[in-house]
């Protein structure tokens, strides 16, 4: 037996080495940028280490067996009639049980920690709709933005709803993910730890525009965030913001469309800076109410939902704003 064990151990160490090298030499995960994500990464690496060890044992045993026990040409004999070994069978039942218990306990602890709502969390309401994200800051009196802005190192709770189908909110750098479900409110608790711009990805198939339902979150220093807040508040207080611009932001148009006037850079739908010039108010209204009536070249029908449920006043304001934006950019 010992003569078999030594080469077996050598293969096992070699394959474990190769698997560990594969696991650790490659950047498997994106940058880690949240408190909760750090805990999740610990579980990921715990499971990776356990999996690599199990893989190495299996790989070594199979490679050794395949090389060592191949029948010689013409050998028609049977192998020895080994029907089982109680000790071995107990071992390979007990050890995996212990390992998965370890994973389960650690994971359970992380779930409980990550579910906990930290003191003083800021609340932001998130609406996911086909195929755009809208963010509402209660302290801004209901003003909505098409992009998410957050201060670093401050816990936040996103309360998420959907008016149409199921979407999912995922920021890969934060690790956490949560479905956004029509009819119920779901919660996403996160404490960002790094400043920067990170992608927001919808991961639940939500229709034709699913693959372009991307957005981004701006995590900024506390001062910068306060500055941004003040800017937004000023706009609200003065009542100065154009109603059309507000509708544009509230409805998440920026998720799919680029428009310099609104600071929008969405890429899923037609670039409004290039398709708007020359359009009449009637044509713009039609594109909002029945988007499939006329489709810009390179885009397909069924993508953009109709906004006919908007109050007339808001539609007219939006049309007016878009007309102005078109005029501005063309001349």
């Amino acid at each position: 037996m010992r003569r078999k064990l030594i080469p077996l151990l050598v293969i096992m160490i070699l394959s474990a080495g190769a698997a560990f090298a594969l696991a650790f030499a490659i950047e498997w995960l994106p940058e880690q940028a949240s408190v909760q994500g750090k805990r999740i990464d610990q579980v990921i690496w715990l499971t990776v280490v356990i999996c690599v060890v199990v893989f190495a044992i299996v790989a070594a045993a199979s490679v050794y067996a395949v090389v060592k026990f191949r029948a010689k040409p013409g050998d028609e004999e049977d192998g020895p009639p080994l029907h089982g070994h109680t000790g071995l069978e107990i071992t390979w039942t007990a050890i995996p049980t212990a390992l998965v218990t370890l994973i389960a306990v650690w994971s359970g602890i992380v779930v409980v920690q990550n579910d906990r709502l930290p003191e003083g969390s800021r609340v932001i309401l998130v609406e996911a709709r086909q195929f755009a994200w809208g963010f509402e800051y209660p302290e801004l009196g209901g003003i909505r933005t098409g992009e998410l802005f957050l201060p670093v190192n401050q816990p936040v709770e996103l309360r998420m709803t959907s008016p149409d189908v199921i979407h999912a909110f995922w920021v890969p750098e934060w690790r956490q993910k949560q479905d956004v479900v029509p009819g119920i409110t779901t919660f996403y608790r996160i404490t960002p730890t790094k400043e920067g711009i990170f992608p927001i990805v919808c991961t639940e198939l939500c229709g034709l525009g699913h693959s372009v339902m991307r957005n981004q979150v701006n995590v900024m220093s506390e001062e910068a965030f306060e500055g941004w807040l003040a800017e937004q508040r000023a706009g609200v207080d003065a009542g100065g913001t154009d109603l059309g611009l507000r509708v544009f932001a509230n409805q998440g148009c920026a998720g799919c469309h680029a428009l310099a006037e609104a600071g929008a850079s969405g890429a899923g739908g037609p670039d409004l800076d290039s398709v708007l010039p020359g359009q009449s108010a009637e044509q713009i209204r039609e594109s909002i109410m029945t988007p499939d009536a006329t489709i810009s070249e390179g885009f397909s029908s069924g993508f953009m939902p109709s906004y006919s449920q908007l109050p007339d006043e808001q539609v007219e304001a939006l049309v007016g704003f878009l007309l102005g934006a078109a005029g501005g950019s063309s001349g």
Binding site: T47, L82, P96, T97, D164, Q178
Partner: protein, 650 residues
């Protein structure tokens, strides 16, 4: 119903009674050819007639019509083919046709195209039909990978892409992996347990013919206005209820496939419980039979749930109920609970029969008994029981009751234990064996290595925090393909190559078989391994377009998948040519011990001249003189006598 009694007189066949009535009224394709349009007309008239007389507008309502067509037209077609004849005669009090076995066995290729009650013919019908749908669904995968090779939209629009994704998965699951195992099981289970046929041959014939119907309904959804159903094979509400009419084709196609699956499972269970040859105790059953026994239990208990989930969707759409209509108080997460209560056990429905195949193949080609036979059988039962307590691990981020995540995580992780037992026991079976690297053995070994990767990524997904990052990303796409392709499909190829000589009486080309294996093994890994990385980095699944940073890895995946597709053609070529011109196989080319190898290849119409006598375990390799079963009352040594005679320690 009883075939056993009839088979006693199997060889005293009466000449079939002279056909009564004109040919148009005889069961067969001609009758089906006029019953199909007739039932189409009946369905159309029924719906439009009722709507017209009730003043419902519009009279021509495609939603309702599609339901009526997909229910009534298949029934008309099956009636024309004669699938219900025996029962209809019996119900209507007419004398049932004398059981003359004229619908049993195959004397020419034509016999494969009719309602045939021979389990061997049905087995071949199943395998060939399912491979046909495997090729179609594989072709759809090629289209998807061609679109995904570069970011942005090239030649399929998002609607077409979502349709391809949905139909690809639906066909692969419901028309290939689940039923191909029913086909292989149909062929070998009666032979392995020493039975002359399945318990309910007419039901068996019917359950096969339901399958192409399901396939045609699903594929036909491409022809409807708005394109194929495109809410994924999971068909989550409320996206599903928002879809064009073609979504009904998924909802109804699944009903036919599910019915087929349930009928076969019922047949397997009754056959295995009641028709084992004398001496075939449960602890002497080959593991393939154990595997199908547990699988059939899963099918019967779980399949009604997916049928129910799709009926609820259908009622929401057609009858305006509000199960998942949020505005009326519907609960959309409820859909997912019902759906996954089937669809998680379905993963084991697609794996356990493969575990059985691999156990047969590994034992035969290592010339050794299966290591830990009883624990291997018990671990199948453990997976069966645990399999029903893990469904919500597909819903860790779904917004379901949050406490439910913890118990579901614990049971999910625990399933790794019986699965681990199987893997370790397979490795121990190889140990000290005399391994022959024939094609089936290569697939079985390939399966063990690929399935271990899929199983380990499954453990990662089973942990809630890991799943929060990886759920609905390409990591999951990689995981399911390692489990269902590297797992299930590898075992299917192992099984087909292993029993090909038994089914056809001819050998396949070993050279082509090995080329097929190695090409598949390499291209499969090229296609799917990098998807783990892409998913972890941030690429969601089911997207027609993606962040350009993932472009190179997607290109690699696409290249791998094209080679994978091409390698399948080698398999098809090998099967067709070898079936016609392969070397004659003989009854037992692998020198295996289970009963199917004791009879000729292919076996005679009723399998055995005499019911075999089972005298020992199925894997007594290396035990001198030991036999699993004997025919014609021959006297052999039992395992204990064999040990005693040779002095080999037990």
């Amino acid at each position: 119903m009883s075939t056993h009694a009839g088979l006693e007189h199997a060889h005293a066949t009466h000449a079939p009674p002279p056909p009564a009535g004109p040919r148009l009224r005889q069961a067969g394709w001609l009758k089906a050819a006029w019953w199909t349009p007739l039932s189409f007309g009946i369905a159309t008239a029924l719906v439009t007639g009722i709507r017209w007389s009730a003043h419902w507008n519009p009279v021509w309502d495609l939603d309702v019509l599609l339901v009526a067509w997909t229910v009534i037209v298949p029934l008309g077609f099956l009636h024309g083919l004669g699938a219900f004849d025996y029962w209809l005669y019996w119900i209507s009090g007419r004398p049932t046709r004398l059981e003359d076995h004229s619908d049993h066995g195959a004397n020419s290729w034509r016999d494969y195209f009719r309602v045939n009650t021979d389990h061997k013919v049905i087995g071949v019908q199943y395998v060939v039909t399912t491979i046909f749908f495997f090729l179609i669904a594989g072709l759809m995968a090629m289209f998807m990978r061609a679109e995904l090779a570069r970011p942005d939209s090239q030649f399929v629009d998002p609607n077409g892409f979502n349709g391809l994704t949905s139909v690809h998965a639906t066909l692969m699951i419901f028309l290939f992996v689940v039923p191909v195992f029913a086909g292989l099981g149909n062929y070998v289970i009666p032979l392995m347990i020493g039975a002359t046929d399945m318990a309910f041959p007419k039901l068996n014939a019917l359950s096969y013919w339901l399958l192409p119907i399901a396939g045609l309904i699903i594929v036909a959804s491409f022809l409807l206005p708005g394109g194929a159903f495109s809410a994924g094979w999971t068909n989550y509400a409320p996206l599903a209820t928002q879809q064009p009419d073609s979504n009904l084709m998924f909802q109804m196609g699944v009903q036919w496939a599910g019915a087929s699956s349930i009928l076969t499972a019922l047949n397997f269970l009754v056959t295995i419980i009641t028709m084992r040859a004398p001496g075939m105790t449960f602890w002497r059953l080959p593991l393939l039979v154990w595997a199908n026994f547990t699988t059939s239990t899963l099918v019967i208990l779980a399949t009604p749930f997916i049928a129910g989930s799709q009926f609820l969707l259908l009622m929401d759409r057609v009858m305006h109920t509000n199960f998942f209509e949020v505005a009326a108080g519907g609960y959309v997460v409820g859909y997912q609970h019902i759906f996954w209560f089937y669809s998680h056990p379905a993963v084991y429905i697609m794996l356990l029969p493969g575990f059985g195949i691999v156990s047969e193949v590994l034992s035969t080609f290592s010339r050794k008994p299966i290591f830990g036979y009883r624990l291997m059988a018990l671990s199948l039962v453990a997976i069966l029981i645990l399999g029903f307590s893990v469904w919500a691990h597909h819903m860790f981020v779904s917004g379901m009751a949050s406490w439910l995540r913890i118990p579901m995580m614990v049971t999910t992780l625990l399933i790794a234990v019986p699965t681990g037992i199987k893997v370790f026991s397979w490795l121990a079976t190889l140990w000290e064996g005399k391994i022959h690297f024939k094609t089936p053995m290569l697939w079985a070994l390939g399966f063990v290595s690929m399935f271990v990767i899929g199983g380990l990524s499954g453990i990662m997904l089973g942990s809630v925090p890991v799943d929060q990052h990886t759920s609905d990303t390409y990591f999951v796409v990689a995981h399911i393909h390692y489990v269902l392709f590297g797992g299930s499909v590898f075992t299917i190829f192992a099984g087909i190559y292993y029993w090909f000589p038994k089914m056809t009486g001819r050998m396949y080309s070993e050279t082509l078989g090995k080329w097929h294996f190695w090409l598949t093994m390499v291209s499969f890994n090229v296609a799917f391994f990098a998807q783990h990385w892409v998913g972890l980095q941030g690429m969601p699944r089911r997207v027609a377009d993606y962040d350009p940073v993932f472009a190179d890895w997607n290109m690699l995946s696409s290249i791998g998948s094209f080679v994978l597709g091409a390698s399948t053609l080698l398999f098809v070529y090998n099967m067709i040519v070898s079936w016609r011109t392969g070397e004659v196989a003989g009854s037992n080319p692998w020198r295996a011990l289970t009963i199917e190898w004791l009879v000729s290849s292919p076996p005679s119409k009723f399998n055995f001249d005499d019911i075999p006598q089972v005298v020992g375990g199925p894997y007594e390799y290396g035990v001198p003189g030991a036999r699993h079963a004997v025919l014609n009352g021959a006297r052999v040594l039992t395992r204990e006598e064999g040990h005693a005679a040779s002095g080999v320690p037990h």
